[in-house]
Amino acid sequence: MIAPAIHMAGSLHAGGRCLIEAFDLTLPAGRWSALLGASGVGKTSLLRLIAALPCAARLDGRITAQDNAAIAPRVAMMAQDDQLLPWATARDNVTICARLRGERPQPDRAAALLADVGLAGHETRKPSQLSAGQRQRVALARTLYEDRAIVLLDEPFSALDAMTRHTMQDLAAGLLSGRTVVLITHDPAEAIRLADSAWIVTRTGVDPCPLPPTAPPRAPEAATTLTAQAALLQRMRLHLASEAA
């Protein structure tokens, strides 16, 4: 598995309105890229377009992988809503994508991945018997089971409480390293913790943000992290003010 860089350029439209006027974005290979911005700005649309999923917005432009091969078959996705099957056990949820393709599921591999995300012994539990954090862990294990080079994360941790979110961020950073990860978030702290590069998505384009020189996942209590976080928040506020004007 070689994780490719993704290049996207053009303008984004929805319902006869321009969402993003012109942008040119290269998401580096095998790294975490964070896209920040106000809700409704089109972040999720960008993600859906990368995955070639049905999308209300239309891109005038192109999305290509650095190796020019198709992107969608190499994508796994994780969203804020865990998208687990309520009727299936944790293990069956982890293997669902393989079963949907008609492949023979590998229960041992599923169990190993569940152990990796800290759910050893929970293989036969159903989503209703798990906490929100545990359900999101199952979703992460399902994403890992797919073993795709490109992983799209649409605010996957924003519905979790602060402590759980912190643990999940560490876990995801470790388990998804080496893949091209695109993280949609509205949380500057999350972007600063996890991203190798970050952009603020606005109506006029994408604004690259400076990040601390250390490698992610960055310690949330480090002075450089906190300073960068404050600077990023300030930058997002300025964008919001100029959009409103």
Partner: protein, 252 residues
């Protein structure tokens, strides 16, 4: 468990006892002749005296109901699956289904009896027809309303339509099937009655008509009670099935 069953029984017993008391009071106070409204005692007596006759007719109606339901459910499930799997089938069949639904299936009972005679086939067809539509439409609606997240998951996995239907849509649609079944449990006994009223040589509906014609009002009431018992057992069975499967599939 036993305490719960006892409480349930008690809750069911209260309205029944109240109804019996009011019924007896109306009969005693108004002095209505017994061929207009027999008292509960007379009806119970008739139920006892004609137990064999009532049981035999109940069996007949129940077997019609059972067969009709099985056929209606099987056809309904098959139609819903076909519509969910094939865009062409949807395009062709959906308008036909909507049109067919506009004709009240009960109104077809005389026509069906005309074509298929007084025996079992006409009853089974009427019951199947009446239960078919609620099953097909409730199941189909739910098959087509897969949550967006699961739809994304299926698309990203590269799932085919068959596997998506089998592994995602069908389990998701079980509550739809159950609400269709609940409707079928209500319409089914009605269809039995109407089928037998239109023309039959056996069954509880037939027994009601016969006893009414002969002025055996108490027997008519006894048959009515047997029919209610039949409906109630069906309803309880469907309710138990719903609870069990909703719990098993963790929808509740």
């Amino acid at each position: 468990m036993i305490a719960r069953a006892a409480r349930g029984l008690w809750r069911a017993a209260v309205p029944v006892l109240v109804t019996l008391a009011v019924w007896q009071a109306v009969v005693s106070l108004s002095g209505v002749p017994r061929f207009i409204l027999p008292g509960p005692g007379l009806v119970a007596q008739s139920l006892w005296d004609n137990a064999a006759l009532i049981w035999q007719n109940t069996l007949w109606s129940a077997s019609n109901l059972g067969l009709g339901l099985v056929i209606g459910i099987a056809l309904g499930v098959e139609t819903a699956l076909l519509l969910a799997l094939s865009r062409r089938a949807r395009w062709l069949l959906r308008p036909m289904l909507v049109l067919a639904q506009a004709i009240p299936a009960f109104a077809l009972a005389p026509v069906i009896t005309l074509w298929l005679g007084y025996g079992m086939p006409s009853k089974i067809v009427t019951i199947a027809l009446v239960t078919y539509f609620p099953i097909a439409s409730a199941l189909f609606d739910r098959l087509m309303s897969l949550p967006a997240g699961l739809s994304d998951l299926s698309r990203l996995s590269g799932a085919g339509r068959w596997r998506e239907t089998l592994l995602l849509r069908l389990p998701h649609a079980v509550p739809g099937l159950l609400s269709g079944l609940r409707l079928a449990a209500v319409y089914g006994p009605l269809a039995v009655l109407i089928g037998e009223w239109v023309g039959a040589s056996q069954g509880l509906g037939h027994l009601m008509l016969m006893s009414n014609g002969r002025g055996q009002t108490a027997l008519m009431f006894a048959a009515l009670i047997a029919l209610s018992g039949l409906s109630l057992s069906l309803w309880i069975a469907v309710e138990a099935l719903s609870r069990w499967s909703e719990k098993r599939l963790s929808f509740a």
